[in-house]
Amino acid sequence: MEAKMDSILDAMMQRDQVTGVLIADNQGLSCGTRGMAHSQASGLITEISHQAAKIHPNLDAPVVILESENTSVTISKYGPHTGAIYKKKSPSKK
């Protein structure tokens, strides 16, 4: 039943530097995860997207990028679903 979603998640994981993928529904419940993305994070990821959308309520929810030293997490919303992509950051050029 979820074969299509599974193949999308697997394809995302094949991309360069991607270390994790997560899809959550509008109630913050996890629909699927891969790699370092944990289903426990789905509520918080949905909440971040929801809060960020309040900045400009009349526009679509913005893409939110969380950066830490080694990882970036890109969060974006598509209809009732929120997606997150975890990426390993490329070493900074000096």
Binding site: M1, M5, C31, T33, S39
Partner: protein, 123 residues
């Protein structure tokens, strides 16, 4: 008439991605149709699922504003059970996954498929 084999086939479509059993039961908890891996647990699951469903379902009718119960999720250490009503029966997925969103999507899709065929055998 409803073909039992076709019904079991439809139920079995949900048995992927950690879903171990898909059950169809009446409101008294009697198992009507089953597809999955362990038959033994199915009777225990259906008895408990229907008990918990009816305990909470009645609260949706108690208040002066009707608020019918649509989904019940029983979240345990080793997995989850999700329940919904289809016609006058209960549909139930027994799963070892924590991905509650996909369980809800799957049970909703099955409900859509079964609603009309099951309504036609309602007494």
């Amino acid at each position: 008439m409803l073909k039992p084999k076709v019904l079991t086939n439809v139920l079995s479509q949900a048995n992927t991605g950690g879903v171990e059993n898909t059950l169809l039961l009446n409101n008294d908890g009697a198992l009507l149709a089953f597809s999955g891996f362990h038959n033994k647990d199915a009777r225990i699951t259906s008895a408990i699922a229907s008990n918990v469903w009816s305990a909470y379902e009645k609260h949706g009718h108690n208040s002066f504003r009707e608020d019918p119960l649509q989904f019940l999720i029983i979240n345990c250490e080793g997995g989850n059970v999700i329940v919904t009503q289809v016609a006058n029966l209960l549909l139930c997925l027994y799963a070892n996954t924590d991905n509650l969103g996909i369980l809800k999507t799957k049970i909703s899709k099955l409900k859509e498929k079964l609603e009309i065929p099951l309504q036609s055998i309602q007494t």
